[in-house]
Symmetry: C2
Subunit: 146 residues, 2 copies
DNA sequence: TTACTACTTGGAGTATGCTCAAAGTCAAGT
DNA sequence: ACTTGACTTTGAGCATACTCCAAGTAGTAA
């Protein structure tokens, strides 16, 4: 099931459920708490962590940032600003805007590479149809493709 | 200057020029050779590496694969197939096709995240225009945004 | 009471991908 | 002859992000 649409119980979740709902491992969640990426989680009377629905959504958002190239340290900084409240709204705005631009550039680069790969695939198909007889058909390295 | 359009001298290049033309450092190029990602480069009589134009183009292609998420080990495997000649064409085709699909999924995910970020930016603008008076305005974690 | 399961903490180890430093070679310039 | 600069090799070290393990606790079930 797709994580982003998997629905989250309103009741508080354990670390194992949190792991399932976020796609992380329990170890990774504990690790994130240790390095200050996630705040010290509430504990049940027996000491076990528990998470609210909002916290799970928060982690999912973070995982989106991570999946789009943000480092743990950058996320940690962003979250620190969040904890500081509304006074940091404009700085957070700037960060997210910059990250959005980063993503735009990344998409452009991926599309460029898709074109290069498609060019190469086309070249391979031609070779297969029409096996080449000339001695020089360099591939990487050195390749003919950019 | 953009690396992919920067033109490459026809004459053989030194490692420092190769570094400049590929965006890698000299250390990284030597490291790649060490781990078998690049073949043992030709040496000049004094032992210095030299690279042909085609080799530079090959490295650039590799860097595209890397920039789009392929690991060094996967690239090493691909290049090994290349060295084995035309008999591996169909396997290489499959690899590149699969990588192209990976890129397509990656683009989709990036675009999804852009939407989430834009939603959040819009939310921030609303907050700035119309500072909120209610006590509960959670941000990550736990956040209101997906 | 014993066993089992789900957690806890703290610390060590691992994978990937570089990055740097030490010591040496070679050729050109003064 | 000596210095400078661009390289060489080998090996160690580092940053990021986990991942695993050992030892312990708390609650439940037989």
């Amino acid at each position: 099931m797709d994580l982003t649409t998997q629905n989250i119980p309103d009741t508080v979740t354990s670390i194992s459920q949190a792991a399932e709902l976020t796609g992380l491992t329990e170890d990774t969640i504990r690790y994130y708490e240790r390095i200050g990426l996630l705040p010290y989680a509430d504990r049940k009377p027996n000491g076990h962590r528990h998470y609210s629905k909002d916290q799970i959504l928060g982690i999912r958002f973070l995982m989106r940032l991570k999946a789009t190239g943000m480092t743990l340290e950058q996320m940690r900084h962003y979250l620190e600003l969040t904890r500081q409240g509304d006074g940091t709204l404009s700085e957070r705005y700037t960060i997210l805007e910059a990250h959005n631009d980063t993503i735009a550039h990344e998409i452009a680069r991926l599309q460029e590479t898709q074109e290069v790969i498609r060019y190469k695939l086309r070249h391979f198909r031609e070779l297969a149809e029409n096996p080449n007889t000339d001695a020089y058909d360099c591939e990487e390295p050195g390749s003919s493709g950019q």
